[in-house]
Symmetry: C2
Subunit: 273 residues, 2 copies
Amino acid sequence: MIIISGTETRKKLLEDYKKTIEKENLDIGLSIIQVGDNPSSNTYIRNKLKYTTEVGIKSELIKLDEDVSEEKVIKLIKKLNKDPKVTGIILQSPLPAHIDFTKCARLISDEKDVDGFSEENLFSIRDNNEKIIPCTVKGILRLFEAYDINLEGKNVVVIGRSNIVGRPLADALINRNATVTLCHSKTKDMKEHTKRADIVVSAVGKPKLITKGMVKKDFIGIDVGINVVNGKLVGDFAKNTYEKASFITPVPGGVGPMTVAMIIDNLIELKRK
Amino acid sequence: MIIISGTETRKKLLEDYKKTIEKENLDIGLSIIQVGDNPSSNTYIRNKLKYTTEVGIKSELIKLDEDVSEEKVIKLIKKLNKDPKVTGIILQSPLPAHIDFTKCARLISDEKDVDGFSEENLFSIRDNNEKIIPCTVKGILRLFEAYDINLEGKNVVVIGRSNIVGRPLADALINRNATVTLCHSKTKDMKEHTKRADIVVSAVGKPKLITKGMVKKDFIGIDVGINVVNGKLVGDFAKNTYEKASFITPVPGGVGPMTVAMIIDNLIELKRK
């Protein structure tokens, strides 16, 4: 059984990004918009600022009050869309309930859409004409590459049909010639699907959703779940699945670390355009 | 075993459409663009003109020479986009090799996109925010409704990943809470998937692609294939699958007749906006 290390993969990627940015003399600016003071957002943002800065990106955090109006957020996005110093914009989720995240995030121009959440970028995956891919999805694809996992003809079960993870991931896997089954909360008998899958991706956020009896021997597990149990981070795969896996991403240290690396990947892609 | 009759379903729908158009006094204009003189296109177009005219739609065929430039086709589309008498535009496929169908079809404005091929309309399905749905996909969804086939929690195998049938159909079925497996030419062991499916949709165009041994008892079969064998129209399902089906769409007389009805459905939807 091989543990797919997102931490190790990221480390190598960051070195490459740093060299690329220096060598090509890329002047990249990232603006992160945060509304309020959500503690987990603070952690994510701290990481985004740290890693982007380390590779030579000029990153700024724009922190708005919890009770800022949606209109003001929109105005800010429109201003940043026009600012030539800004290569990419991230609207940090979650937002307070009075602001529509999807609506606002989709106002970020396609050319500055680091997260790959714009309609054009999301549709480009569905259309097999990929442009900017959402960071979590791209991170998973990079892990497959890093560990030489060939997707063609593989039976993949993706669990979770969110607009920015499950569905674009399914689209991207179909583009890579995998046979994809998309499961979700209304799926009857999940085990019937996971049991036959060469690769199981869980993006639900439910501890022990996938247990040993639900997977076949030598399956490949990609764990996108992030759950806190007794103060510890765990994924969606129960620990007893590991013994049956040929490859598996741990939590923490699997998909998570890749996401921030893919922000940099997307920023370089946006800058080069 | 119940034969799902697209012909019968269409008949009822056409009566409804006719009444709706009269009652609401809808002034609907359809422009069909044909390039060259493809014989099967001629048949399809003749049908489109016939049925739309019968329900009270003003339909016109604009026939261009086989060697017309792409530029001229684009110019025509742009002109029709602006013409207030035109509710909907169809660019009849196939086009000659020197004209890019996808590119041209996507220039039809979202508001006149009867076929549902525009990026916005296709993405609306992927985004679970459905606008104009491609006619073949919508026709299949209507057949499920007409025969009270509930999709929630059903295991559906869709074979074929085209941009305008397989993929948007998979998206629409996920929106309706089905668990969907999308198979295609690179799928290994198709039978392993179809054998377990409550519903099998084949949109490949290969006679006898699905045989008796590949389906389970009481499966539901949706046959989108149109093949000519010894001068006869046949679908992708072998005849011996019928005895195992609870419901099945025949070829001819199944999905095919619904497509032209959905052109009218979409035209009414576009007109009402």
